[in-house]
Symmetry: none
Subunit: 144 residues, 4 copies
């Protein structure tokens, strides 16, 4: 199952509301469960460099069905996944990307947010994802 | 000047309305005058292959300040711009991409649409662009 | 829905049988409905250059939900989609790629075959796809 | 010499058996001694992000005739091969990629596995490679 555009828009709206609350200027990307872009929104004054980061965060979260920051913990120098960012056309492995999981435990897509500190990016991504599902690790089969 | 997110959303809304009128399923991309993605919307059931085409059409229209189809007339075998599609990370030179020009003749961005025949793509792009500006060739300085 | 590995293997087995029948040496790729690689098989003596072509044919067929050769008819010089091959990281638009559609009319993936004439490539792809579904144009929603 | 498709399939079958034993969901890639893809298998429920990682692990192992993890020891910050991952279209230098060496000490290809911890990836790759050869460092000439 793939996220619908209606849900993608609801997630973006919730993310924008959170961004305004924290006085930040964000790029927000939603991808479906095939890691294909569904919707994108760049707030006025958001960094141009955040466009690609937001999209790559969303793709990274779908690629492995987990928050981007979890991968980043393992990809540090000396870590077991050091250098994983070189795969898949470039991954972003710091916080701000989250899978979006429906009520059946199936991952329908992901959200990626970039534009401020990773704490703010993560908070805005969480607000967006939770508007339409959960960010828990998906069950198997995690994607249908 | 760059298109605002408010205007980008208005253009997308007008494009969606036109797409529904023609019973088509479109990917719609808005870029600013730097050819950087501002907003993107994939209608449910739009082709996945149209994501990249819509974005590349919008970029192509900003890169040269003209409708993508105009470039395509010159890039045919034997034409003066034959092979131009190999530049800039890949251009799309058939119709569906249009510059968006403000009331002062300045190009503020572009719209790219993909998902149906090039005639439908062009009609939907036109509806989107005209909701917030014109698609006339920009004057010099065509970008500020 | 995505093609299962069991079905992907059945499609490849049927394609191989057809390739042997025609005394050809093929690369055979199966992608899911997100255009992500599911299975790949290079017969001994197949061209190395066919690896990428087979994969790109399968991706192209999923990207637009139609046989690759249909796109190629429109992408000739002077055609409405001239130059579309420059999108999506490179498309292949001659025959040999086919969508795989299940009994509900939903596209679950695609097969791409390369290694001989386009007629043989198409025949082998057809044999593979028909072992597990149809190659008719999918209904809307063509992908879930 | 290049791995035959018969041997590639035997290696994949052994890898799958090991993956099932460890209750993991793997992507398994086999490349020949030219680093060209020979066969690929994505188990149901394997991560989509593991497709590219499995293929890159196999290529990396052939590129240098050694286990990917050995390269990773040298590519850490301050190490002699720091940043080598930027070459060859992207390397993966953590465990899970192994050369496949025949009885004459000639490298005929490699296996790359991704989908779980690097320990599990390595164990599954080892099971696959050992079904058809050894994973010892090849002698010179290590490739014919």
């Amino acid at each position: 199952m793939h996220v619908t555009i209606e849900n993608a828009q609801a997630a973006i709206a919730a993310a924008i509301a959170k961004a305004r609350e924290t006085d930040t200027f964000m790029c927000i990307a939603i991808v479906d469960s095939g890691a294909d872009l569904k919707a994108f929104h760049r707030m006025d004054d958001a960094w141009v460099g955040s466009i690609d980061i937001a999209i790559k965060k969303a793709k990274t979260a779908v690629f492995f069905g987990m928050p981007t920051g979890e991968i980043g913990k393992l990809s540090q120098p000396g870590g077991s996944l050091y250098g994983i960012e070189h795969s898949n056309g470039g991954l972003i492995t710091f916080p701000g990307g989250l899978p979006i999981v429906d009520e059946d435990g199936v991952m329908v897509g992901a959200i990626g947010v970039s534009g401020s500190s990773v704490e703010n990016d993560h908070a805005v991504a969480t607000a967006g994802a939770q508007a339409i599902g959960s960010t828990d690790l998906p069950s198997h089969p995690w994607r249908t």
